[in-house]
């Protein structure tokens, strides 16, 4: 949590002035009952109308000054809260940029997004309320008590007794109901899940004729929820009556002691009225305080989650090398293996192979066989747990991230494009690419028809590429990787949504890129069979490395894959 305070530093002034002005305002409110007392004792009793007028004008001016103070305070609080959270959001965004793939896997992107959106706004709200009320409410409560003591010590003892009692009631009810509200929320979530499932699974449920069972299950869950809601309702319904009784009994006691004190000549009638007024002020503020504490607890929980994000130590540990050696070997794996953190089994068992510049490597195997793991080690997205991965003769983590990844064009499995024009998306590959460069890449990626169809490079791509089909997205992501004219091109199963004809012409076009080392990951034997080298992976292990004909002769797994995909044609 301390980590967050440094972001608040530049708002020191606001954080002090906000509550301070709130306190000024509260002080003015505390003066009001005294003025009323004076009106009664010195205006009415002394039959002095001009005093009454003056005192009333004074009341009015208290109101005006109070308004001014309070507006100032609101402004400073809002400024501090908004500014602070803006900085937090920015810092989190920046932090995420420094994380490694493993870090991101561990945290999960949805968690990170929640921290930056929902948690951030809870903190903003919490800080704003805190600056406004945290000092004010207790100040009014205790201020009223202290003022009461200055009026008359003996009568004020009632205050000392009633404030703790009120606090017990208000906070007690809050503490009891909070977990119940959580339970009710869980109940609502259950209904939500069931409703959603009954929509998404409407065909299956009706196919099995399970409608009645679903209805009775829903009713059961609904009844359980109603039960909890009613119980919470009954308990929180105690708040108003109980505080009402306490405050009013206190008022009655106050008047009784007041009457006795007046009869002893120690108190005036006006002062009794003042004490009565102080009593009413307490309750309102105490309830405000209780609500405030709820939001502060929530905000604190959110703040600590944000602090967790900011305190992550990135495991991205790269060097500063900007250039590789002058060597003919583009990529080399030297008994490199990888186990993801948190997993006991290796995702990739030690593997060794070397790829010359300009060669095409096919990687084939079933789901979960380690294909993506292997290619992700080349741009050092994940680092070898043992052994080494070298690019141009240097261990990958010796490079600076920009230098290493600048040499590599990768087309990830899931085709992701961003909101913006096609040109903007293509320039992710190379900021300085000319339209001609882009169009060349687009042509190689067999995506000319998409760009033409959409109306040129200025055509908008919607968020997540919603206005494109799966195959179109794949071809554009391939073009994006080609724009940087990479020395190493990695296609991670990125032609799965293409038909066989397009797939073939794409492979042909890529083959024509001279000097580019290409890695093609696929489940289709047809995509890799013409590669210079094919790596067959099975359950994280390389069970065969060689050309198509070598593997057909020596590798049973490869033969099986090939057979399942090609036998059908021979059947006919």
């Amino acid at each position: 949590m301390k980590r967050l305070l440094k972001y608040l530093k530049s708002y020191k002034k606001e954080c002090v002035l906000g509550p301070l002005f709130k306190m000024f305002e509260a002080t003015l409110e505390l003066i009001v009952p005294l003025v009323i007392a004076a009106i009664i004792d010195r205006g009415i009793e002394a039959e002095n109308p001009s005093y009454v007028v003056k005192a009333s004008l004074f009341l009015l001016s208290l109101g005006i000054v109070g308004l001014a103070f309070s507006l100032t305070a609101q402004y400073f609080s809002a400024k501090a809260a908004v500014g602070f959270v803006g900085k937090l959001r920015y810092a989190m965004f920046e932090k995420v940029g420094t994380l490694s793939y493993s870090d991101i896997d561990e945290l999960g992107t949805s968690t990170l997004i929640t921290r930056m959106t929902q948690d951030a706004s809870k903190v903003q709200n919490g800080l704003n309320l805190t600056l406004r009320l945290l000092l004010r409410s207790p100040f009014v409560v205790f201020g009223a008590m202290i003022m009461a003591f200055t009026v008359d010590v003996r009568s004020a003892l009632t205050f000392a007794a009633v404030i703790p009692l009120l606090s017990v009631v208000v906070f007690g009810i809050m503490l009891i109901t909070m977990p119940l509200y959580k339970k009710a929320q869980k109940g609502t979530d259950k209904l939500l899940t069931r409703t959603r499932e009954n929509l998404s699974g409407v065909r299956v449920i009706r196919a099995f004729g399970n409608e009645d069972e679903e209805i009775s299950a829903f009713r059961g869950e609904n009844d359980a929820l109603t039960l909890i809601q009613r119980r919470v309702g009954r308990i929180s319904a105690l708040m108003n009556p109980l505080t009402y009784v306490l405050i009013n009994i206190a008022v009655l006691l106050l008047i009784h002691t007041g009457a006795v004190r007046v009869s002893e000549g120690n108190l005036t009638q006006g002062e009794v009225v003042a004490l009565y007024n102080y009593m009413s002020q307490i309750l309102v503020e105490l309830i405000k305080l209780a609500n405030l504490i709820i939001s502060i607890t929530k905000a604190l929980a959110s703040a600590s989650r944000i602090a967790d994000v900011l305190s992550i130590e990135s495991t991205e540990n790269m060097g500063t090398l900007t250039k590789g050696k002058d060597t003919d070997i583009a990529v080399e794996f030297c008994s490199a293996s990888l186990s993801y953190s948190g997993s006991s089994e290796a995702s990739l068992d030690p593997i060794s192979f070397a790829v010359r510049k300009g060669e095409t490597v096919g990687i084939i195997g079933g789901t979960g066989s380690g294909k993506t793991t292997l290619v992700n080690m080349i741009p050092a997205f994940y680092k070898a747990t043992s052994g080494e991965v070298r690019v141009l003769g240097e261990e990958v983590s010796k490079y600076s991230p920009e230098a290493l990844r600048g040499m590599i064009g990768i087309v990830p499995q899931s085709a992701i494009l961003f909101e913006g024009s096609i040109r903007e998306n293509m320039r992710w590959g190379n900021e300085n690419a000319s339209d001609e460069d882009i169009m060349n890449a687009v042509a190689t990626a067999q995506a000319l028809d998409i760009v033409d169809g959409k109306g040129g490079l200025d055509a908008k791509i919607e968020q997540g590429g919603r206005n494109l089909s799966g195959g179109q997205k794949q071809r554009l992501t391939i073009a994006r990787a080609l724009v940087r004219k990479p020395e190493i091109l990695i296609l991670d199963d990125s032609a799965s949504a293409l038909d066989y004809a397009t797939d073939a012409s794409l492979r042909k076009a890529i083959k024509e890129l001279s000097g580019t080392t290409v890695f093609i990951v696929s489940q289709r034997a047809s995509s890799v069979m013409y590669a210079d080298k094919i790596i067959v992976l099975d359950d994280g292990m390389a069970v065969g490395i060689g050309t198509h004909s070598e593997l057909m002769a020596s590798c049973p797994v490869y033969r099986e894959i090939y057979a399942t995909q090609f036998s059908e044609v021979h059947d006919g």
């Binding site: 009106i39 920015y90 965004f93 959106t117 704003n128 959603r196 099995f208 489940q523």
Partner: protein, 595 residues
Amino acid sequence: MAKKTNAARPGTMKKVLGYIGKYRLLLPVSILLAIISVCLTLYVPTLVGEAIDLIAHVGEPEFDSIDRIVGVLIEAGVLIGITALAQWLMSTINNKISFGVVRDIRNDAFTKLEELPLSYVDRKAHGDIVSRVINDADQFAEGLLLGFTQLFTGVLTIIGTLAFMIYMNWVIAAVVFILTPLSLFIARFIAKRTYSMFRERSECEGAATAYINEMIGNEKVVKAFSQEQKVLERFGKINGKLNRVSLKAIFFSSITNPSTRFVNSVVYAAVALSGALMAIPSINPGSAVALITVGELACLLSYANQYTKPFNEISGVLAEFQNSLACASRVFELIEEKSEIPDGENAVSLSEVSGNVRMDDVSFSYTPDKPLIENLCLEVKPGMRVAIVGPTGSGKTTLINLLMRFYDVDEGQISVEGHNIRDIKRRSLRESYGMVLQDTWLRAGTVKENIAMAKPDATDEEIIAAAKSAHAHSFIKRLKNGYDTVLGEGGEGLSQGQKQLLCITRIMLSDPPMLILDEATSSIDTRTEIRIQRAFFEMMKDRTSFIVAHRLSTVMNADVILVMREGKIVESGNHSELIAKGGFYYELYNSQFAR
């Protein structure tokens, strides 16, 4: 989520009252309790005022004031107790009514969900329907409760306070009455001004959230292209704008409270001034005594405070209540949707299904202006395998929809075992098919629960046997808790292939006489694919089956192939017939299946 209108449709209140009708005995009690508690709440301050006045006479020997004060205070104490009790009972009753009403509405809404025609479910955004059943119902409950407890008592309090004030001193009552609307006016003025600021803020917030979602959600791609710095810069700009807009919106909206507080203090000062002046006898010619006592003034001052409070609350509560009615009307809209035509009285249950399916001149379209299936005739004999092929989007699933009677045919008829399916109980018809869709559906729950959906009373042995024949047993066994492994919603935690195997297991367990299968596509690796295919073939033995086919082997072994294109069946026949014909199937075969 669909657009939310903020107005309730006419008649909503009447429907709400219909639901409240169930609690008609409680309602008058609640109202009576509200009247009691409001009256007493207003009466107690007058007693306090009386006691304060008695203090003035303290010390006058002939006047036993302390005793009289004690008498008044005891009376007040008793009334306070009664008030609190009434308040609590009222809240409890209102709770009971509100949550009960919402429970009933929700039950009706969910029941409706199970009766809605598929065309509705397919057409509407699911998020919108869910939000009606859950969020709208929730907000309605809150609004109803608030309406019961605060709206009614608030109005009563205002009327009562006015009456008490007029009774005590009409001049001061007039002062209060004239000044209070001021605070309402100010509050409304500020709300109007801040509305556009808040809209701007939520737009900015939306933009920032979208950007965060897009970039953080795809951080790996950002890193792969070393775009971290550029993306951060752009976020800095979006964030900066959000901050500026937020500050404005938050500050201006936070003016409301101090402003109404200020109006309150104006009212307070005015009451103090006018009351105090009237309490001084010497400046009120024509009356020897004061027009108002100090006690009454104290009482009026506390009224002045109380009186403005419900005013401020009521405008908020009113908006809330209105909104809750709008929510209710959205739920009612769902409840009042047309249900599927219920099964006819003479509808039969199929007892022996051997697998005879006939389509006579069937025509169907989702929208009248776009004819889809026209005059389709098909005769399927027991054990026949019907393959449906065609490019994506050609309407292959429409046939499944018609066979399962998820949609009714427009013309012609489909019959199973000689019965028009309209004359068969839906449940019976659907249970005679086992359906595995490509779009696998699993629910939150254990693996076992998911498999047993088709047959809730299945024994563990039966479940395991079904899993074995679906080639799913080996992977289930390896899950953390085997058959008791809890899956997330949508089968979270399983791969696509595993999900499909579970869905096949489900059908294996229910052992239906006919099958409808949607084959998997490329997202599954070849070796899992082989397993799934084996499972499929196992099931299809001797069963009439309809298969949306992607694999050549399936297509070639089919007895009938229906070739679909743009929603229509353009060719049908077996493989060699269609190849010989040299039509669309021939083309499709060459482009899609030949490698």
